[in-house]
């Protein structure tokens, strides 16, 4: 199933920094991952881990001061997205790689109708008449199961609920049949019953259009229900990557273990906690970045940064202890 021809996107050793008043902050540190056609990859982590920065870097949406590219490649097909001109990137965005964000209300202009904005986007990518665009937009809204699409096109953004707006954004993102969809916490701001609807739509559309999705979230429950494969990030680094069943059944990295155990109701009895807090990006700890909070850290962990190595079938982890266990 995973062969070189099936890989849609490959991130290699991506490192991104930010210039702040207090000095340079290392936000992404040599992150490598790959996405296959038709798979939903979950990108999980807590605040400050760099998952949003990673998603935005793929589409080159990070403003260049203060963001700084420190190294790496992002291969889409055979092109390195980091080396493309801004003009080529603009042609790519919305066409071959689309993105949806957390707050649909701020992605839409409040003074224009939904129809106006959708037609504008559609006609930028595919020349057609206004009537054709209207019909096309109606059909798109129908695929995301919005009732009465013609009516919706005449509404203004503030007249629609968060869930409906997010469906509009999904419809827009998928209008040109992209190969890859980046979803940056699209359901975090929605109620749980609405979230369920959106996740169901995304899952169906991904299967129907053989769409690859990178789904950024902090919610392990969503990951378990939606994704095929999961990548866990901590403090700017990728610490574990596995198929979803393997990740939940046998999490190899202590951070992943702690994260799953922190979910109320996951383990019976006392709620497990991870002591301490996420390190500052300005002064990351030496060696393994998780060692100050890790119950299993040793002196070796404080000195040497672990590499992301395969320890089981399609299961990679960056942890010295896990490596030792695997090689035994």
């Amino acid at each position: 199933m995973t062969g070189p021809t099936n890989t849609i996107l490959q991130v290699k050793d991506l490192s991104v920094g930010f210039e702040t008043h207090q000095g340079p902050a290392h936000v992404l540190d040599r992150v490598s991952l790959a996405v296959q056609k038709g798979e939903i990859l979950g990108l999980v982590g807590e605040s400050g881990c760099g998952k949003s920065v990673l998603a935005r870097s793929i589409l080159r949406l990070i403003p260049s001061p203060p963001g700084v590219l420190l190294g790496g490649q992002i291969l889409f097909g055979d092109q390195d997205l980091l080396k493309l001109s801004e003009k080529s990137m603009r042609a790519l965005r919305g066409q071959q790689i689309s993105m949806i964000f957390q707050e649909p209300m701020t992605s839409l202009n409040p003074v224009f109708t939904i129809g106006h904005q959708m037609r504008e986007v559609v006609r930028t990518h595919k020349p057609m008449t206004k009537a054709q665009a209207n019909a096309f937009c109606c059909s798109m809204l129908a695929t995301v199961r919005l009732p009465d699409p013609a009516n919706v096109l005449q509404r203004y953004p503030h007249e629609l609920s968060g869930g409906m707006l997010q469906r509009v954004m999904i419809a827009l993102a998928l209008a040109c049949n992209p190969a890859l969809l980046l979803a940056d916490e699209p359901t975090t701001a929605l109620d749980v019953t609405v979230q369920g609807q959106i996740l169901a739509i995304l899952s169906e559309l991904a299967t129907a259009q053989n769409l690859a999705v990178i789904f950024v979230t902090h919610d392990m429950g969503v990951v378990a229900q939606l994704c095929h494969r999961v990548a866990v990030m901590y403090a700017g680094q990728l610490v574990e990557e596995a198929l979803v069943h393997d990740l939940f059944a046998q999490p190899a990295h202590p951070y992943t273990q702690g994260l799953i155990a922190s979910i109320p109701g996951q383990t019976p009895g006392q709620l497990q906690t991870i002591p301490g807090s996420v390190p500052s990006a300005l002064q990351p700890p030496s060696g393994c970045r998780f060692h100050p909070r890790c119950p299993k850290s040793t002196v070796h962990c404080t000195l040497h940064t672990p590499q992301l190595l395969t320890v089981a079938d399609q299961h990679k982890v960056a942890c010295h202890q896990a490596h030792n266990r695997a090689s035994v």
């Binding site: 609920s161 609405v194 979230q195 369920g196 609807q197 229900q225 922190s262 109320p264």
Partner: protein, 322 residues
């Protein structure tokens, strides 16, 4: 059975909303509709619901940031629904609140020590070194050291700020604390720390909590009893175990089914409920849930359902059970 610490009896609250710029077309927004709740000493009552259900408004009514339009709020034997001024201050002394957003619930211009000391100063309970010691011990109880006294909120992380907010609430030694989504803005690992801290503080001081949240996993973990709200009304109450294992109201059932379970072997159908939460400006007639209810029938569109007890301590407002 001792008298409950807090009783809400058919509390209502409406807000006037101006439809357009010139003030014509004024409409009433029913935020809280005939809500009745009971909280006993030392227990945690969970209040769940989605956005617009009125749970935060209930929290604000209890601490009297708002006054109810009708109904009664009885705290520690006293009816606080219409009090004001000095009487309210005295009656409210044993009540505190912790808010959701750790970034805006602490005054950025005040030092942490001043923030925690403020309720003590207002109450006039301590002065001078005694005050300082009380502040230090409150901060120590939440795991922050003496060196945080002179620091400012922006130097702390979200989880630490919620600890400061807890210290502020506990400094005056209340009997009851309203927790309005206290961990919703925090990462899951930090949330676990804060929940554990709250449990410890509750055990140590015999506190009663009203835990308001939209996160069902968290509510299940922290509360002994739970109430579910929809569009300003309570639709079901019961012990947490009863409610979560055998939910009686169709909304509770749908809500529970929509929560993504962190176990990929249990793949769920997450889209149980169609449509969106309706606006509280346009309350549907009869039962507020009927437009989205998969089990609605004719009576549901005409009459609001009455409360029915289906098991000891488990009550529901639904025509299906009458």
């Amino acid at each position: 059975m001792t008298a409950p610490l807090l009783t809400l009896d058919k509390v209502c609250k409406r807000f006037l909303v101006r439809k357009n710029f010139f003030g014509s077309g004024r409409r009433w927004l029913t935020a809280v509709d005939q809500v009745s709740l009971v909280v006993h000493q030392g227990e945690t009552l969970g209040l769940v619901g989605e956005s617009g259900c009125g749970k935060s408004t209930v929290g604000n009514l209890i601490v009297r940031l708002l006054a109810p339009d009708s109904g009664e709020i009885i705290f520690d034997g006293r009816n606080i629904s219409t009090l004001s001024g000095q009487a309210l201050r005295a009656a409210r002394a044993k009540m505190q609140i912790v808010f959701q957003d750790p970034y805006s619930s602490l005054d950025p211009r005040m030092s942490v020590g001043a923030i925690v000391a403020l309720p003590l100063r207002v109450a006039g309970l301590y002065q001078g070194t005694l005050l300082r010691e009380r502040v230090i011990s409150a901060l120590a109880e939440v795991g922050l050291g003496e060196d945080s006294l002179e620091r400012y909120p922006h130097e702390f992380s979200g989880g630490q700020r919620q600890r400061i907010a807890l210290a502020r609430a506990l400094a005056v030694q209340p009997a009851f604390v309203v927790l309005d989504e206290p961990t919703s803005a925090l990462d899951v690992s930090v949330q676990a720390q804060i929940l554990q801290l709250m449990a410890e503080l509750q055990a140590r001081h015999g506190l009663a909590y009203l835990f308001i949240s939209h996160n069902l996993n968290v509510v299940r973990h922290v509360s002994q009893r739970t109430a579910v709200m929809y569009l300003g009304a309570v639709v079901e109450t019961g012990s947490t175990e009863d409610l979560f294992t055998s939910p009686a109201h169709p909304y509770t059932q749908a809500l529970l089914a929509s929560v993504p379970v962190a176990d990929p072997r249990q793949r769920q159908n997450l889209a149980r409920l169609k449509g969106d939460v309706p606006s509280p400006l346009d309350l549907p007639p009869g039962c507020g849930f009927h437009p989205r209810c998969p089990l609605a029938f004719d009576l549901c569109t005409k009459e609001a359902p009455q409360w029915v007890r289906i098991a000891p301590g488990h009550e529901v407002a639904c025509h299906l059970h009458q």
